[in-house]
Amino acid sequence: MSIERSRITDAAVAIFLWVVSSAILLLVVSLLFNILWHGLPHVSWSFLVDTPQEAGRSGGIGPILVSSVLILTVCVAFAVPLGVGTAAFLTEYCKFSQRTNRGIQGSLDILSGVPSIVFGLFGNIFFCKILGLGFSILSGGLTLACMVLPVIVRTSEMSLRGVSPEIRQAIESLGLSKSGALFHILLPIAVPGITAGVILSVGRSLAEAAALIFTSGYVDRMPSSLSDSGRALAIHIYDLSMNVPGGDKNAYASAVVLIALLLAMSTLTRILVRITFQRTRIC
């Protein structure tokens, strides 16, 4: 009797999980299909390199791609060293009590949940006005760096803490220096976890619009330097679909490019990590 009952429960749970996961998959697939269906026919080489015309209705997204990549580069260049450094400091150097540690982790979690528009307003006041950087790629990138910093710190911290106690024992018993152990053993072990955090952050940054409207601006010309204003891809999509009548077709095409960029970047990073660490560890 009870065996029969547990079999029914098992089947019910299995069906429920199937339905839930299929629903999610269907949602994602239909979204992707919709974007590809409307956007793919308009994507061409000239679309990728040309400057936008008639407020983006025609022409391409060349300058916008350049601005996006520059903003992303600034963001990664600041956020990764700062984030990984903070994580290394928190896990390896400072000996806070468990309570303080939990406090720091909690506040980082809250910070990573703060809406991006808030970061945008903060960046506008701090980077554009107080530091006098104005509406620029630099301000935008730095604001994004602030936004993704908590994610990078948390993921790096977790992967450093995840290093097995046996390895830590070996490090201690050999009398290795803290910095030597960090750079030669702990960080290499933690790299896959850190990479996951960075990919997540890059994805979020590339798709970010709200934090950039008030910091990097939305001029769609080719930026001449990092202190020049530039329009990010996500802002371009937002502008075309909300403010420019007849911009839908190019908005879809830009969305296709954005998704392709995200996919390419995460795949490339994973391959790079695998090649670099294949020789020394079993992935």
Binding site: A170, S173, L174, G175, G180, H184, P188, R279, I282
Partner: protein, 282 residues
């Protein structure tokens, strides 16, 4: 030449007397001299070791049931006990007249002189070569040729050279369990320590790998002073020159008897040792 022959280090070996009943023979050169060691976890005394001397170049086995403080005593010798939160150690551990437990002792150079190998093999997830080169570089050896030479010598000492010399740059994680453990021993001896601490080095290995590791521990006898913690009495009998028996009394681990391996196994002086050796208790 003559002075070497009569120097106490290479002179005839005299078995150290048991600790408890007649006092230790102080004329024997000893590498480690533990006096009145007391160890506390969260303020509660966990280990009480009144005295323990390990002869230079010998293998001493620390045996006893689980939780009797063998590993705790071992971890005090190279101050690994520092890593345990809320752990306090009192007493004296002398290595070459230097008190290991003194706050001013340089832990980094202490651990270079006192190597340690753990229960489970723990090679770094790097190449075989890097596993040995990293500690050498960290301790200031930069000369490439010298590093290569030391790596080869350490790997030969643990009998791993012939098995791995063609693939020194392949991941250490791809070695078998026994090979990994021998690599860990090589990593400890590549720094040329005087003392090696082995914390149940064979307990996570299959019998064949264990016997290979055991064989090489015996091979290191004479060149290093070795302290090995083991549950395996037969193993202690095979590899050790002297044996110390730990026991739990009133919830506190303590040393009940130490002495020459033959004496402990054939004529133990203490009742507890007697029944433990015979497998009646423990």
């Amino acid at each position: 030449m003559l002075s070497e022959l009569v120097s106490p280090e290479v002179g005839p070996k005299i078995a150290p007397d048991p600790m408890r009943i007649p006092p230790a023979d102080l004329s024997i050169p000893c590498a480690i001299d533990i006096k009145e060691l007391r160890l506390f976890y969260d303020g509660r005394q966990a280990v009480n070791c009144s005295g323990l001397r390990v002869e230079k170049g010998s293998v001493m086995a620390l045996v006893g049931p689980s939780g009797c403080g063998k590993s705790s005593i071992l971890s005090c010798i190279n101050r690994m006990s520092d890593l345990v939160p809320n752990c306090r150690v009192e007493g004296q551990i002398l290595i070459d007249k230097i008190d290991v437990l003194d706050k001013k002792t340089n832990v980094k150079s202490l651990r270079k002189r006192v190597g340690m190998v753990f229960q489970r093999p723990n090679p770094f997830p790097k190449s075989i070569r890097e596993n040995l080169a990293l500690p050498l570089r960290e301790h200031g050896i930069r000369n490439r040729a010298m590093i290569e030479e030391k790596i080869e010598r350490a790997l030969r000492d643990v009998g791993l050279w012939n098995e791995v010399y063609v693939r020194l740059d392949s991941p250490a994680m791809l070695l078998s369990g026994g090979q990994q453990q021998r690599l860990c021993i090589a990593r400890a001896i590549v720094l040329e320590p005087e003392i090696i601490l082995l914390d149940e080095p064979c307990s996570a290995l299959d019998p064949i790998s264990a016997s290979v590791v055991e064989e090489f521990i015996v091979g290191l006898k004479g060149r290093y002073t070795i302290v090995v913690v083991t549950h395996n009495l037969a193993q202690a009998r095979r590899i050790a020159d002297s044996v110390s028996v730990c026991w739990v009394e009133n919830d506190c681990g303590c040393l009940v008897e130490s002495g020459d391996v033959n004496q402990i196994f054939s004529k133990p002086l203490c009742k507890i040792t007697q029944s433990y050796i015979q497998g009646l208790r423990g």
